[in-house]
């Protein structure tokens, strides 16, 4: 099946052909988390929306782990601990990102260090700059084979990233060309969507619109499914149009313990515990974590029941306070 073949670098012709196999009908997209995750196939390139620990589609990422798809490529602009999970569980063989870790206070990813420093051939890292990855998604979203940029020029990232240089035919200047990425599946978590999959987000838009437009399939979780009228009242705020969306799932706290603008702040203390455990017990602690939080529960509702309600209220309160303008 052609779908299963890996796309040649920047192959916008084949990427566009693949889009033809997708239904663009404005129909009801609502389904369950399990059904949505089943649209991910072994060997897929999964592009993850959000950034670092904000608006991460964690409910979907956990459900895919439960289902067991493997040989995956994961891409994300700044990758948080979900990247560690997929490596620890042996599900990802390629990681495309500009940065991997939880954030400065939590140090360097131990499992990434072990893999890279031990020369583990099971995981291949594609390292590039934050902007270069953004432009690779954007080139895909624009239906182009590449975009020119000045970033990365002169650095050693040029020698390891999939990039070429060219001489500008208008100015004679040297340009870096980054090839388009066309992921197989995009995972996106949003604040609200109508049942046709028209999605709106509050706060940072990050790279999600580009990630969705560049990908062949688009799976969306939303904190809330709202009426069509609510979307149509402010169409300027729609980030992803319904015709791009293949599956839509209502998933309150679908990014928890990562954060959602105005809804809940990230649970830093959860990251502390996660990292402390790895520091104490080694990277095997990631497997223990997954056994408890992912494989040990049947679904997202059971997962959320593992968290302290009082703590959640605190995080919700801070989120509300931070977006309040008197």
């Amino acid at each position: 099946m052609l779908e299963e073949e890996t796309l040649k670098t920047g192959d916008f012709v084949e990427a566009r052909r693949r889009l033809k196999e997708k239904s663009l009908a404005a129909t009801e997209k609502l389904t369950t988390l399990a059904e949505a995750a089943r649209l991910v196939e072994d060997g897929d390139h999964i592009a993850i929306g959000g950034c670092m620990f904000t608006r991460t589609p964690l409910a979907l990422l956990m459900e895919i782990l439960r289902q067991g798809q493997t040989d995956l490529t994961l891409s994300k602009n700044l990758m948080c601990y979900e990247g560690e999970w997929y490596m620890a569980a042996g599900r990802a063989n390629t990681i495309i990102t500009s940065w991997l870790g939880i954030g400065l206070p939590w140090g360097i990813s131990r499992i990434m260090r072990e893999n890279a420093e031990g020369g583990n051939p099971a995981v291949h890292y594609e390292n590039l700059s934050h902007m270069a990855l953004g432009l690779r998604y954007r080139a895909g979203a624009m239906g182009l084979p590449f975009l020119p940029t000045l970033t990365m020029l002169g650095s050693d990232l040029m020698s390891i990233a999939e990039a070429k240089t060219m001489t500008c035919p208008f100015t004679g200047e040297t340009l870096c060309l980054v090839p388009a990425l066309f992921p197989d599946v995009a995972l996106i978590h949003v604040h609200r969507a109508d049942r046709f999959g028209n999605c709106q987000v509050d706060g940072y838009p990050f790279m999600d619109a580009d990630v969705a437009a560049a990908s062949t399939r688009v799976l969306v979780t939303a904190e809330e499914i709202v009426s069509e009228d609510e979307i149509r009242r402010y169409p300027e705020r729609t980030l992803i149009p319904g015709f791009m969306v293949d599956a839509l799932v209502e998933a309150p706290y679908g990014s928890f313990p990562h954060e959602m603008h105005g809804l809940y702040r990230a649970d830093y203390s959860h990251f502390d515990d996660y990292v402390d455990d790895i520091r104490e017990k080694g990277t095997g602690a990631i497997g223990d974590y997954l056994d408890h939080y992912v494989f040990g529960v049947a679904n997202h509702e059971e997962y959320m029941a593992l968290f302290d309600g009082e703590k959640i209220v605190e995080l919700v309160d801070e989120a509300r306070m931070l977006v309040e303008i008197e």
Partner: protein
Amino acid sequence: MSIAYSNEELLAVTASREMVGVNTIFAGVGIPLLAALLAKQTHLPGLTIVVEGGSIGPEVLPGYLPISTNEMRISHRAQQLVGITDIFLLTQRGFLEVGFIGGAQIDRYGNVNTTVIGPYDKPKVRLPGSGGANDIASLCRELIIVTKHEPRRFVPKVDFVTSPGFLEGGSSRRDAGLIFGGVSRVITDLAIMGFDEASKAMQLEYLHPGVALEQVVENTGFDLLMPEEIPVTEPPTAEELEHLRRIDIDRRFL
């Protein structure tokens, strides 16, 4: 009257003073953000702070300093929120005057490494990666590097150029296609360094109060250019420290 201050406070104050006549700054979390917030409160009322997550002109609530450049704590009261790629494109267009980065290794031409210590294929230490550091270093009108002054950090040649300074010195940065920018200052807990106009090699410019020249030499793994006179940095003022400590009331970063 001199007040006791931490290394971090000295770094933040020094960095804030380096922003003279600056109107737009690409700031990371930690010291750069504190320096920018301080500068806006003291001498740069017209400053717009920009962060990588896509936030333009945010404010920071005292006690709610962000840990990452893409969370609500640093989109609070923003004037605009745009996509990450768009923030970098604004930078590529030339709208960002000053960028700040740190790094695990820095060399005599201001190149910075946050990718690997040792060879790329089998590194001694795998670091987190570029994030936006390469982009900030490539695209801002000028770059300020803030880092600890240690011999393992200040190396003759970085193992991997994650973020370009002046590359091999001279015109090599421009020759590589980077039409503007370059490192204007390296600020450490010991000193302030600049770069020679022609060779683009790093040179000592100021010593911090109480720091001996030998300390800098010992903690730098290559020969710094030495001008004839090396003045001493003015210590942080009471007003500067008061501002800083009001922003970071829990002293998370100070």
